[in-house]
Amino acid sequence: MLYRETGQFKTTYAADMAVFPLRQDRIGLAVILAAALTLPFVAGEYMLSAVMIPLLIFALATIGLNLLVGYTGLLSLGTAGFMGVGAYACYKLTTFFPDVNIVVWILVSGFFSAGVGALFGLPSLRIKGFYLAVATLAAQFFLQWCFTRIPWLYNNNISGAIEVPGRTLFGEFVTGPNASAEMRYLVVLAVVALLTWIASNLVHGRIGRSWMAVRDMDIAAELIGIRLLPTKLLAFAVSSFYCGVAGALMVFLWYGSAEPEVFSINQSFLILFMVIIGGLGSLIGSFFGAALIYVLPIALKAVPPLFGLSIAAATVEHMTFMIVGALIIGFLIAEPHGLARLWQTGKQKLRTWPFPY
């Protein structure tokens, strides 16, 4: 209904291979970006720091994992571990060189987790599928163990947690206690937008195709000249880079402080749910998955007070677990390909409106 595709023809291959060939999609994207930018002036403190910032951060981590699971077909349960590496790397970097801009360190910390990710990606050449899940589980538990056992990582802080120092960007406090929610939100938004754009570029180009080739049939991929190990390692590295940056953002711009417990195995499961529910192999699906899995429990908690019935916090917590569990099963039955496929089908219906097909 909203689409007017007539007259949108392509005269160059670059236009034909564009990520958003239709003008209406470009307009939609612009509207979303504009809304995201004006949000801080409109939304309240709670909305920003408890909903939007975490949602964007989880979306970034989901994109990272999606690059690995959705695009390259390599199952990983070590996402939280790699996020932890990013967080601690950023913490150490900013303690050694406090005057360097914090956003730089957040991005640089991604390279550290990329290195670690690639290291734990090495076994992916010989082992596949569930077996590979074990290799990444090894990474998860080993990293989690390091975060508690190596005091150097958290500057020998007796509580074992890292306290985020105050850092400024353009004169405004961005991290630490007196950083305003708006500033933190804008920084997170900028980083996530940039990295999503880069992920989109990667996925639509030569590298994305070789990843998908390895996912769909690695034998055929190898026979047409794609070297499996470099492709898989690159996938692990890029995916871990995204998780690392997400980890750094989580600690510096959301929690403000963090104990090792934050980067537990449950976090890895949570992000894996987001990828699956959002839709394997779809960037926009990652945003949907993160939104659904993260925002839903918050919404559920807000529901009972609306109806005036006061339920004990614990019960609500248990109910949330049950509902999330039931939802995951229900969702997989309804649409195994995730929210992205629902979005795609809806868009297709709009494009062929009023006709059915």
Binding site: L75, P123, R126, I127, K128, G129, F130, Y131, A133, V134, A135, L137, A138, F141, F142, Q144, W145, T148, R149, I219, A220, I265, F269, L272, F273, I276, L280, A314, T315, E317, H318, M319, T320, F321, M322, I323, V324, G325, A326, L327, I328, I329, L332, I333, P336
Partner: protein, 318 residues
């Protein structure tokens, strides 16, 4: 040089020095190995029969134990509670088959794998809701499980064997033997293996897929209950158990996803390896390596044999 010495030589010196401590560590390793094997067996059962990597097996252990203890707390006599728990596990098996498996029958494995995650979350929430979240003591004496310790002087020192551990080892071995016979010789066992190879083929020869899956999930439920009881007896019944259930993964992978003997031997290797590693090498790096050592052992083996110790060799046919 001293580091190399500390890693490669010193632990063995200690082992020789205090053989009884070694035996004690070995015994503890064996017992936890047996319990890992029991949990892994639940995974293998379901994977062999339905090709589903049932991640919820871990939580089923906790859920079964919790149900047993919860019922007992609510005044139900021990053995009746046991029978009721078995019934609950059966209902769970039927529910899972009807709600989760049937609609997702020909979806790719990863979708079913994630569905079991959903089941895990559901069971956590449901279990906590009904029986409360705080840890509970296992009702060992009501079930006439032996208590106390047997101390055996050996090799110049004293090695203590928990009676409960002995009972656990015996029960586990009985279960394992029973399952092995069940798989190899009974009609249903063969049907299970047929279903595992190919759903379509099994259907074509008239094996009722739904029936098989209920049986398999029920059997896995029983194994989970047994594991829950044994594990609960050693520590206490709480949701922390779920993380320990994760340890079954390396056991499975080590032993090969589809072989029952593989699960047992894998369990023992991991159990012993972990205990020895923690006991002798742990202090070198600040202890607590038990949490990740199991995975590294499994990883090491996998790099040598990508299909695990007992799995069939994967031949790529194009």
């Amino acid at each position: 040089m001293t580091i190399l010495y500390a890693i490669f030589v010193d632990p063995f010196v200690q082992m020789a020095g205090a053989p009884d401590l070694l035996v004690q560590a070995l015994w503890d390793g064996l017992v936890s190995g047996v319990l890992y094997a029991l949990i892994a067996l639940g995974f293998v059962l379901i994977f062999k029969a339905s090709g589903v990597f049932n991640f919820a097996q871990g939580i089923m252990v906790v859920f079964a134990a919790l149900t047993l203890v919860g019922l007992h707390e609510k005044g139900v006599p021990a053995f009746l509670a046991l029978a009721l728990t078995v019934a609950v596990m059966f209902v769970l098996a039927v529910g899972v088959e009807r709600v989760v498996l049937r609609p997702l029958v020909n979806q790719p494995d990863i979708i079913l794998f994630i569905a079991t995650f959903g089941l895990t979350y559901f069971l956590i929430g449901f279990g906590e809701l009904i029986f409360g979240g705080n840890p509970k003591a296992m009702i060992t004496d009501q079930l006439f499980l032996p208590r106390g310790v047997v101390d055996v002087p050996m090799l110049g020192g004293m090695v203590s064997f928990q009676k409960i551990d002995i009972a656990a080892a015996i029960i586990a071995s009985l279960m394992v033997a029973g399952l092995a016979v069940f798989f190899q010789n009974t009609r249903i066992g063969r049907a299970l293996r047929a279903v595992a190879d190919s759903h379509k083929a099994a259907l074509s020869v008239g094996i009722s897929l739904n029936q098989i899956w209920v049986i398999v999930w029920f059997a896995a439920g029983l194994v989970a209950l047994a594991a829950g009881i044994m594990w609960g007896a050693r520590s206490e019944v709480s949701f922390a158990l779920e993380i320990i259930a994760l340890k079954a993964l390396p056991v499975l992978v080590l032993g090969g996803l589809t072989s029952v003997p593989g699960a047992i031997i894998g369990g023992l290797i991991i159990g012993v390896g972990e205990k020895l590693g923690e006991f002798y090498w742990g202090p070198l790096v600040g202890g607590g390596i038990e949490s990740w050592l199991a995975y590294f052992i499994a990883l090491a083996v996998l790099l040598v044999r990508p299909q695990g110790l007992f799995g069939e060799k994967i031949i790529e046919r194009i």
